[in-house]
Homo-oligomer: 704 residues x 2
Amino acid sequence: MTISAEPSTTRVTKTQSLDRLFKPQVIAVVGASNSAEKAGGALMDVLRTFPGKLHPINSTADVISGRKAYKAVSDVPDAVDLAVIAVPPAAVADVLRDCGRAGVGAAIICTGGFAESGPEGAQLQAEVIAAAKETGIRLLGPNTSGFIVPALNLHATFMPGVHALPAGNLAIVAQSGGVNLASAFMAADLGVGISTAVGLGNAVDVGFADVLDHLAQDEDTTAIALHIEGVADGRALMAAIERASARKPVIALKVGKSDVGDFAQSHTGALAGNWAVARAGLAQAGAVVVDSLTDLVEAAAALSVTRLQPSKDPGVGIVTGQAGPGLIIVDTLTSARVKVPEVSGATTEKLSALLPPLTYQRNPVDTGRPGPTFVDVLAAVGDDDSIDAVLVYALQEGGTQTVVDALTNSSQRLSAVPTLMVTGGPEDDVVAQRDALKGSGIWTVATPDRGAFAMSAMIADAKTRHVKAAAPAPSVRVADRIPGHGALDENLGKDLLRSIGLRTPRRVACESRGDAEAAFKELNKPIVVKVLDSNVLHKSAAGGVKLGVASLADLAIALEETGRASSSAEARWLLEEQVGQGIELIIGGVNDPSFGAAVIIGAGGVDVEWGQPPVIRTAPLSTVEADEAIRQLPQALITALGPDVCAELGQVVFDVAAFLAAHPEVKELDINPLRSTPDGLIALDAVFMLDPAHTAPNFQEDLK
Amino acid sequence: MTISAEPSTTRVTKTQSLDRLFKPQVIAVVGASNSAEKAGGALMDVLRTFPGKLHPINSTADVISGRKAYKAVSDVPDAVDLAVIAVPPAAVADVLRDCGRAGVGAAIICTGGFAESGPEGAQLQAEVIAAAKETGIRLLGPNTSGFIVPALNLHATFMPGVHALPAGNLAIVAQSGGVNLASAFMAADLGVGISTAVGLGNAVDVGFADVLDHLAQDEDTTAIALHIEGVADGRALMAAIERASARKPVIALKVGKSDVGDFAQSHTGALAGNWAVARAGLAQAGAVVVDSLTDLVEAAAALSVTRLQPSKDPGVGIVTGQAGPGLIIVDTLTSARVKVPEVSGATTEKLSALLPPLTYQRNPVDTGRPGPTFVDVLAAVGDDDSIDAVLVYALQEGGTQTVVDALTNSSQRLSAVPTLMVTGGPEDDVVAQRDALKGSGIWTVATPDRGAFAMSAMIADAKTRHVKAAAPAPSVRVADRIPGHGALDENLGKDLLRSIGLRTPRRVACESRGDAEAAFKELNKPIVVKVLDSNVLHKSAAGGVKLGVASLADLAIALEETGRASSSAEARWLLEEQVGQGIELIIGGVNDPSFGAAVIIGAGGVDVEWGQPPVIRTAPLSTVEADEAIRQLPQALITALGPDVCAELGQVVFDVAAFLAAHPEVKELDINPLRSTPDGLIALDAVFMLDPAHTAPNFQEDLK
């Protein structure tokens, strides 16, 4: 066994700067038109406010939108940084070659009709990729609506209305141009401006990783929102998120929870992939992973204003002016497993001197209508050792100004504890308060449940940063490659598990009845008799398992009965010492084509708690990540297992993850059940599915 | 066995009309003040625009807010309909008695400090209840911020800012005054006005049921949103929802998913109760049950404009101008199990003549940028037999006006198919479009995921109405009362299950080893030997179960071993014929103190599908409701069971529900597992917990 110290991700994002794409001095619009109905006309109209040079390119017209038009980019006297292309798909490759001759740095291909449209389009796309390789031009698209950088008055898109989007600190990177624009307007509605908003389209060159690297360095960007449909190289994306999230919050939405692959592919040509594994990978890389577009924009808005310090499990203090919305906030936070700790006795003592007698003061702290002591209440809660962030709820009413005054005038007093304001009331009042507080680094949300959500997003970011601070994860190789194809037999599978440190029952693989009788004598009774046949995947259901075999007479019957489940005439058996009762778990894993190895941990029975999905993590894991994964299991299960078994389980998950990461040929692994016994955790079954052709991660072919 | 035809709910909502509360001509404010800092001052200020008569009551002042003040309500020369009371808690009962002498019809007690504050307040609350009984006055509160009816310029609340709320068709009934106001402002932000918005507070008299009955008759109200913290009489609430939802949509949020009982009780004195059972009951009664306050307001807003026809499983047609947001919509709808059916070949043919070749046309129908054929595309999709509602997505851009024109000018053409508009873009444009379409009965939502949510709420309402149209549910009584206390022994439990029609293994209860040997000869081998002891709840874990006993020698060992698990010196055993392998389910039930009997159905193993919570329904169930409940199980489980077993399972659920409804003394029932075998579904275990003192539903004491 060797421990590989190689980082899990070897692909380095293409280093050529995207400055000529995102900060051009000279732009050419290829396919520019005087007709507003055409994309080339819309582009000229939307780009009219660009303060740099803008040149229309058109093979026939002399003047477009009042500007001199050129026949080709290579005819333009200035050095063109960015070509925005809106010509039919078959003409794009030639345009790119002309751009190459003209020394253009980057191009946006707005045109659709490439890989998303079928085989013919895929061929055209391959030609575009070839032309980009020849010329070295960085490509955004094809099939994209482009991007905007409002602070530069740069709107490289055919979508109208974008001038209404204010400049600000939120960056959006969306697979879809429509979603890019929809998200930017959602942010604007919340009072959050845009630093850069990009639609990637088919992303044959510039992808999520490249743009993330660019935005990580962009001083105007304080948070990055990602809208992801499918991603060919999940590990490269993870590496880029890791780099970016070390500097600023990254928030990610993965579309494709349900089976929408067909429609998705027709849209940008991307495969939706395994949604749960992708989400696990994005979160582990450092992103706050959300469930909807609304969540994406609202979490990113909050995190663009306030980022908490890394913390294992931050505590939230809640101070309310009205108890009913406060109850909704506590319920929402607690359901999301955010800690709302009871404040200390010393804090309660301070509070009881500040507040009327009948109010609830343990956290949440219900002030009744906010009064003059509000600032002191906030300070008392914020100063409590268990509190890492404070959420204030107050409806817009007479006392609200007190709250705003408290928050804006006492920044020094409260600086150690980030605060989130949640309110409700007339829109104009809410907006005025939001703008007043934003200057003090305090974000305002207009409804109680969305306020709780924004806080939980901030908490998720703080927890992820804590986990990311741990030592890197190792991978463990047990052989160059595990030989075989399809299912491995259970005995070999258990040998593999033992070799990486897992406990398995004492057992003997038997080729005959005679072997079995001999083995029976060696093993402690009772034993379990199982047919040993990698073709029989569901042994129990097929009658291939017999428990409680304690006598030679039992054994004969058991061999006879289980042997009938064999797929071959010559049955083989596995005889195992029977393990006592105990709580059961399931540990499994896959090697995903995009995100590589992933480990899956779940409750093995329904008695403990119904209805929580399994925990998924991409592999390998650091020990801190493994422990964190265990903490996501149902609370009742954690309690039932106890701290020692949970620690052992963390080690098992760590070992399995390290193994899966080193063995991409293991397509699936299923340890079901892993049973908690007085002797420790024991793997009672092991199903390995091997695919020798499988190499993961399946890195996208590099363009350069 | 007798079948009781009694309706499950016998309590009738108090019939006295609430007109004097919600449509007063004359209002008195008791505790009126000239100080804006006091509730009595705020009340006078907020009520200033009331067009009827308004009289301040104050023991010392002669003039309040420029109006003549009286010492007592009984001094007022006019007949006072509504007294709004803001005096200290200890003074409230006397004020009510004075109101009684003056012939007042209704009162709002804004004052807090009653049951929510502890034993002393509970005593004061009891006195207030007594005074209300004496006088016959209908009471809202105590501990409430009151209510508003904007169309009547009636703002009976001390909360400022409420004049900004427009009149409209949405009614809100909230347990919390703060949530009531927050919700009303959230609706206003969406462009939806309020018919009536009420905060119930401690709800000692006027509760959810009374207000629902009032609003069901209110012509200005087209949808009712409920915010529920705790409810003492869940069945009365269900009956009122049933009546109201037959006329207009009812949407409900139940707070208390996590353990927030302490804080909840300090707020309105209500117990949070069993969240999952309450949600099941609310949905079965006819409400659309939602997960957050935002969901509540957005679902109610959409349903206040558009209600679909009842349908078992309506199909949604999606027409998009931009594919990316469309993909989010499809993903969100499909994940919520809303049907997005492929349209017929005939429809696709029509669409292919209307749309460019490369667009996706099977549903979703992606139009690219909306063009002149948009109206025909909508008609083609809406005319498809599988489509019951159409969702249109189009960003605010050049083509959007085409969409609005299509939707507003062709109402005749599209009238058979309700349409929901979803958009994005500059806020002013969105609002203008929303207002333009609302007149045509089309609701507009500003983001793709929230649009999908609004549609799924409309679908939920249509499905519930379909289920509600079925025959009423029966209850089945097997005895006057099942005798006993605590756990019932497994043999008696299985006898009970057999008596209501469930299949159980052939078995013999044995008092001695001799009994067991005799029984062994009668039963088909192998058998299962179980210790028969109602004190041993987890028999398997305790070693009290032995499978595969096939010989007398096995039997002797099995009796010996399982007997050790017995809690008494004289062990008893249950010998059962062993049942073959098969898919396992869990059927259970409880009798909830507020919502009465409820049945719980879940997957019994984790192999089929991880991570879906069990299905819960209040009992009894109609056959249609039972079938609908089965359809909510994980899809993979439904497929694995097949239609015949699912039908049988529906019958089992129906039988168990009917039994639980008739036997409130059954506190808990757990059939785990119910196994699907070639001989049908067989109950392999049965745990009954009895509570002879338990009567459910535990109806709140009637005030009248």
